[in-house]
């Protein structure tokens, strides 16, 4: 008997010592390590709602269905959450499109207040709205982002100044 070998036992007097009893551990295949590493990075990025997305799960299903099948079999709870998150982001994408239209329409409505600056009776058309936290084009504040972050314009501008958000 080899001391320390899997399942080996050594009898000393009345005491039986169990040495190196093998424990069942299910290992994940290397391809899933890559998949999970990518997913981990994407999910961590959801902390910032402005840039959140989750096309990776459906893309994986298209490009590498074998991995998706493996995940569904080995981690069904996680696969279920990926499914739900994927649906949620589709809904968010659709809502975001709707809110962008609302923003554009409201801007168009508001600029009509400035019609008096132009020819009487002529039509005024909204062109664009831009607030930059530092005067450059690099830190432009987008109203959709302010809304998604649950902040007002002033606070969003301040936080961009403080944190140097990329846009």
């Amino acid at each position: 008997m080899v001391k320390g070998s899997p399942g080996a036992s050594v009898t000393q007097a009345d005491t039986i010592y169990q040495i190196g009893v093998p424990r069942e551990t299910s290992q994940i295949p290397p391809n899933l390590v890559t998949v999970y590493t990518t997913m981990r990075k994407v999910v961590k990025g959801w902390l910032d709602p402005r840039w959140s997305y989750f096309a990776d799960w459906s893309r994986l299903d298209d490009d590498d269905p074998h991995s998706v099948i493996q995940i569904r079999r080995t981690a069904p709870d996680l696969a279920d959450l990926f499914d739900q998150a994927s649906s949620l982001f589709e809904k968010i994408h659709s809502l975001r499109e709707s809110v962008n239209v609302l923003i554009e329409d409201e801007q168009e409505r508001l600029v009509q207040e400035f019609q008096s600056k132009f020819d009487s009776g002529s039509k005024v058309k909204f062109s664009f709205f831009r607030i930059s936290s530092d005067g450059s084009n690099d830190n432009t504040l987008y109203l959709i982002h302010a809304w998604m972050q649950g902040q007002d314009v002033r606070n969003t501008r301040s936080s961009q100044q403080g944190r140097g958000f990329p846009t």
Partner: protein
């Protein structure tokens, strides 16, 4: 910036800068407060954070098996 007409010619002009621009943007956000789809967007974004909290430990669990 808006596009209007002066003496019949189209001109693009800034109508608000600085504080006025901030107020303009804020009025748009105030309008969104009253819109159901805008409020719904915020609610759904909160759910993203719940998913994040639930998913990350499960990914870590799977990676720990490697």
């Amino acid at each position: 910036m808006v596009v209007g007409h002066r003496v019949g010619n189209p001109v693009t002009e800034s109508i608000a800068t600085g504080e006025e621009a901030i107020k303009f943007g804020q009025r748009v956000l105030d309008y969104l407060e009253m819109q159901e789809s805008a409020r719904k967007l915020r609610e759904e974004l909160k759910r993203v954070q719940e998913f994040r909290k639930a998913i990350l430990p499960l990914i870590e669990r799977e990676l720990s098996k490697s």
